[in-house]
Symmetry: C2
Subunit: 420 residues, 2 copies
């Protein structure tokens, strides 16, 4: 029986061209984040299924690839439900595993701990163009830092990295879950309705203020609350000093320290950031994950109309593992989107070494072969990339292929030296 040549449904093989770009981007990421003191670390790709099903992961928990129990532990005939036959699951993000890791090793780790993770995650989503069921994530997180220094460093590290990869004119949209909630509270909505209201608010960039207004009305919310809520956003849009506007409106609903700290993040980043991106306070930013407790941010590429990563503060997640909360904040780059954009822009990896192909006629053997091999080894020592290959019957096509791969120089070796 012939085997299946295709990758599993929804996942993809990575071709050499793309792989070179991925390796380059990974290198820039590691080097740049390294300069900020982030240390690489890794967890296994699988986690206990209980850890992945603990309501930290929101919708992603419905998309877990689950691992069948093995050997005696698998009792298929007694199984009542899925839960009886699986023990592990493939991680759907890098945050839950990081927090487990930190909880397990905090005694051995510095405080604060600045972690860099680059790794695959898996989601059994419906595959779409450019979205696969295995994809790379790239996260930096700071655990044990309660102050807004965490946010400032995360935003600067991430934007510096994007800048080094040639991205510009992008936006970091920033807000705070506490501002989001205070605006809903100020308007008189009930706390149990917040999540639904935020789902509507999250559509602002697609349906506009009027769209949000009519969707909330249709959902049956109190007209006075809707009017008050919408007037907040309208006032915000018109305000000169937007932060001051929010500060005045939410006085009494929102702790003043929240806005002081928030303002400091914006000012510190703006003071050093250069002009290749904008940091924008956007009170319509929601970020779906329920684990966020404070600042939230997202990378927008307005020219492309897409988000390229995001993150925020999640001060309550370590406590789920240890019983003791630890402040935590993270920023994730949309690695696959970045690769896609670079590929579409025809990005070429810079600074490669000289590439030479040695083509050896089939008959070349013995001592002569030895001397060709020795010559190749010497050139490699000098930093040249040398491909040693047998000459194909169709030498012209072989050279065309190699030229497409970047080989600029060809040296041919024949059994009969006269041919040279």
């Amino acid at each position: 029986m012939a085997l299946n040549k295709k990758p599993v449904h929804g996942m993809k093989d990575i071709m050499p061209d793309e792989m070179q770009i991925r390796d380059y981007v990974t290198g820039v990421i590691k080097e740049t984040y390294g300069k900020f003191g982030f240390t690489p670390m890794e967890t296994p790709c699988m986690e206990d299924i209980a850890n992945l099903s603990s309501k930290q992961g929101g919708e992603n928990e419905k998309l877990i690839f689950k691992i069948l129990k093995r050997g005696e532990k698998l009792k298929l005939d007694e199984a009542q439900s899925e839960a009886d036959i699986v023990d592990f699951g493939m991680r759907y993000d890098l945050t839950v595993p990081l927090v487990r890791y930190y909880s397990n090793h905090s005694n051995e780790l510095p405080s604060p701990f600045k972690a860099l993770q680059i790794g695959n995650v898996w989601r059994a989503d419906r595959p779409q163009k450019g979205r696969y069921r295995q994809f790379m994530q790239c996260d930096i997180d700071i655990l044990g830092e309660a102050s807004n220094l965490a946010e400032i460093e995360l935003i600067l590290a991430t934007t510096t990295t994007l800048g080094r990869l040639g991205f510009k004119n992008f936006e970091i949209r920033i807000s705070d879950r506490r501002i989001l909630k205070a605006m809903a509270a100020y308007s008189g909505f009930a706390e149990e309705d917040y999540d639904d209201i935020f789902i509507t608010l999250d559509k602002m960039d697609k349906i506009g203020l009027d769209g949000v207004e009519s969707e909330l009305a249709q959902a049956g919310y109190d007209k006075a609350s809707i009017d008050k809520y919408l007037s907040l956003f309208r006032g915000f849009n018109d305000a000169e000093d937007k932060l001051k506007f929010i500060e005045e409106k939410l006085a009494g609903v929102l702790d003043g320290d929240v806005l002081t700290g928030f303002r400091e993040i914006i000012e510190s980043v703006n003071a050093t950031k250069g002009d290749f991106f904008k940091l924008v306070f956007d009170p319509t930013l929601v970020r779906g994950m329920s684990y966020y407790t404070g600042t939230i941010f997202e990378i927008s590429m307005p020219e492309l109309g897409i988000s390229c990563g995001g993150g925020g503060r999640y001060d309550k997640m370590v406590g789920r593992f240890t019983g003791k909360d630890v402040p935590a904040c993270g920023f994730s780059i949309g690695f696959e989107r970045i690769i896609l954009i670079l590929m579409e822009n025809g990005f070429k990896v810079p600074n490669q070494s000289r590439k030479v192909a040695y083509l050896i006629e089939k008959g070349v053997s013995g001592e002569m072969l030895c001397s060709v091999i020795a010559k190749a080894q010497d050139a490699r020592k000098d930093g040249t990339q040398v491909l040693v290959a047998r000459m194909n019957k169709n030498k012209k096509f072989q050279k065309e292929q190699l030229t497409a791969e970047g080989y600029e120089e060809f040296v041919e070796f024949y059994k009969n030296p006269i041919k040279e």
Copy 2:
């Protein structure tokens, strides 16, 4: 309910110290193999379960982590056996996925195709010291090269890489499955017994010639065959020119071209290899995988008594996917063992940038914070690694920790400048 802090059974969290070494080794591997024209590529970590259960993987097929079907495809109440409820499996090596990939993409790939893969594989083995159920493999393979140039390049690339990582005095043991079989045929064993006989032969380094002899006798093989077989190995050990000895003995049983090509591999490698390792013809080398069709090799670290990788030629595997055989040969480095050895030897990653820690008193905020951040950003641009952190209450301990992480210099920032 508190969540589980431990990694899943048999897998491990990788701590920052180890991760730095892993990243360094990965970098050396990619750079060195790159000089030989190997191009990185990747496949998904999961494969169709049928591809993984096709008898290519030998014993490893019993150790597959299997993925539960999802959604409507999972019919638990109708399930009779495991096969009904799983569709994918975690790859247990990188060879089967590579061959699937090559079969799927051969039209887009150069010929020969020189592939470099670094990736995790999973085996539900019983965990032991230093052996985990998720581990990194690092393979190079050449597909489409029928001549022994493939073997020569693979051995030189692998040993050059090991040399650059500081390994010396190791051995590459080399043989050929066809020599192995011819020796058994010459001795009069029946072909259906070869695999069992080779399992015994494989223990030679542990039980010696006499041990092999008595184990074969106990298994009930013909005494004349055993005697003839053992005399071959004894004669080999005593022979001056070992290859010539085998050549003369197996004349008529083994195609002469096999030994000519084999001799050429040894001579070509020896001509350029330097003196940091030995290439040794070892007719007791077996390599368990049934897919090997020709040359086989293994890295021995005699001082440590362990194997650190191996490989060989497998000319029949592509045909399992496409119906048409393509010559193929690969060499896998024992990545995890290499890391373990480096860790045990106290290996330090060379050439790191200057590491400075900025410690900021809690009260520092506003413009002063901005200026500290700006200063850090400037130093990073100049290539310095700068950690910006809030000063802990126990500053002495914090500095000790940071010193252990390699920070050589500390700059402290206080709200009240007089303290400086």
